[in-house]
Amino acid sequence: MTAGISAPGRPSIRARTLRTDRWWLAPAVTAASLFAFVVYATIRAFWNGAYYAPPYISPFYSPCIATNCVPGSETIYIFGDWWKLSPALIILIFPLGFRLTCYYYRKAYYRSFWASPPACAVSEPHRSYTGERRFPLILQNIHRYFFYFGLIFNVILTYDAVIAFRDADGDWGHAGLGTLVLLVNAALLWLYSLSCHSCRHIVGGRLNHFSRHPVRYRMWTFVSRLNARHMLYAWLSLFWVAFADLYVAMVASGTISDLRFF
């Protein structure tokens, strides 16, 4: 190890940390949860089935833009029939990139997967450290573009939630548990995206004179308030996306049937 807490001149204390609380718990839970999500998401992304139960479409597969999409689920065919894999794979890169470069998730996985640092005042097991200054981590700086794409996805998933008010035949006036699930999904995604740090910067954070831009100042204040809870929204929306997918999958596969409200 390059000298860290054992560098010459520093107090000679050998222990890696003297913390007596269960500091490893938080990173362990984070790691386990993220891992579980990744496993689930990977399986579902390659599954290539059980993602459309009219009128519900799984958020993992929306927008469905390949010719091999289940009829009815597609929006437009951008990818022709040469695409043989799961259509989820085409689009998931965007939400994946969004979350991967998200300031909160970065903290979460740097701590839990990379132990850099595992917890505060617990020394990390790496020889050297260069932070986000070099390839590949310098790419984290494109986060705001993923944010823009994220907004497009939010619109699409909101649309999905709205059309879930039609029944399987396309007639308005339907609502089932699935509608609610997709609605909550869309809402949480909006909360997550709007509370994004890049969003906060773009709506007003980059200004130095709020007083000259009262409207943007109001927006910034609003986004700042959401931003304080970004971590919460990150977890809730992550969990709910998976849950929404699971719900659609179970309905689509006939495991359960949708509870219809009206």
């Binding site: 003297l18 005042a121 450290y129 700086n141 910067h201 130095n208």
Partner: protein, 253 residues
């Protein structure tokens, strides 16, 4: 209501040292600093410790208590069990001088490297006009009492001595943010220098991986990462990495 508290205090200097056990009286309402003072007054009169205000205002009494970076004067004894051993060590990122006192000159060096406030040329003293909403952000950063706990906990230098040369630490990256967001700072107008770019190139903003330990330990509850470091990273993106913004002529903020 007094009881005997079990203390384990690091004693030593740059040559070496060790954790030593002591039993010291503790009374209701006391903080760790009181116990250290009692230890000093009754058992080891040459125990070195820094403190001034005893009210969390000066940032002198930084130490690590049970491994967590804290102010001794703001850590109440009541958060520990009476039979718990309380370990007190100096902060572990800087060279130790003696006992609980460390050499924090790194921080003063870094402070000197941050370009100072540059006053607008066309305003005389007394003519400054600023709106409260425009100074709020920088005011939050100016709450800093320079306890250097954030500097101490930041793994960039805590775990990598060699990064000290190129990294100013959260406290001084936040100082840059403070000036960058100051509504009347005119460094750019006066000298052409760009605080944002310098934060990245000279002060090591890119080292920070936003893992938020600085925010976790700040006794002033300054949201260092959310309000200073990430916004600075975003401003760096504006100027350096965002291809579209780079094509647009730079718009005055």
């Amino acid at each position: 209501m007094g009881y005997q508290a079990h203390l384990r205090v690091w004693r030593g200097d740059a040559e070496g040292g060790e954790l030593r056990d002591f039993t010291v009286e503790a009374n209701e309402g006391e903080v760790v600093l009181d116990i250290i003072h009692r230890l000093q007054a009754t058992q080891c009169s040459d125990l070195a410790v820094r403190w001034n205000c005893k009210a969390g205002k000066c940032g002198s009494c930084s130490a690590e208590i049970n491994g967590r970076p804290r102010l001794m004067c703001m850590t109440r004894m009541s958060i520990f069990e009476p039979d718990e051993v309380i370990t007190v060590t100096p902060i572990r990122t800087f060279p130790v001088i003696k006992d609980l006192v460390t050499d924090v000159s790194y921080n003063y060096q870094k402070a000197r490297e941050v370009p100072s406030f540059s006053p607008p040329k066309d305003l005389q003293p007394g003519e400054y006009r600023m709106q409260q909403q425009d100074v709020n952000r920088s005011q939050e950063f100016r709450k800093c009492i320079e306890c250097f706990l954030c500097q101490n906990v930041c793994h960039v230098i805590r775990d990598h001595e060699d990064n000290k040369a190129n990294f100013a630490g959260p406290r001084f990256l936040m100082r840059i943010a403070e000036l960058e967001m100051h509504p009347l700072d005119s460094l750019e107008e006066n000298t052409g220098a760009d605080r944002t770019a310098v934060a990245q190139s000279d002060h090591g903003l890119g080292f920070c991986n936003i893992t938020k330990c600085c925010t976790e330990v700040c006794p002033e509850n300054i949201k260092i990462t959310d309000n200073a470091l990430i916004p600075m990273k975003e401003r760096v993106v504006d100027r350096k990495y965002d291809p579209i913004l780079r094509l647009l002529p730079w718009r005055k903020r």
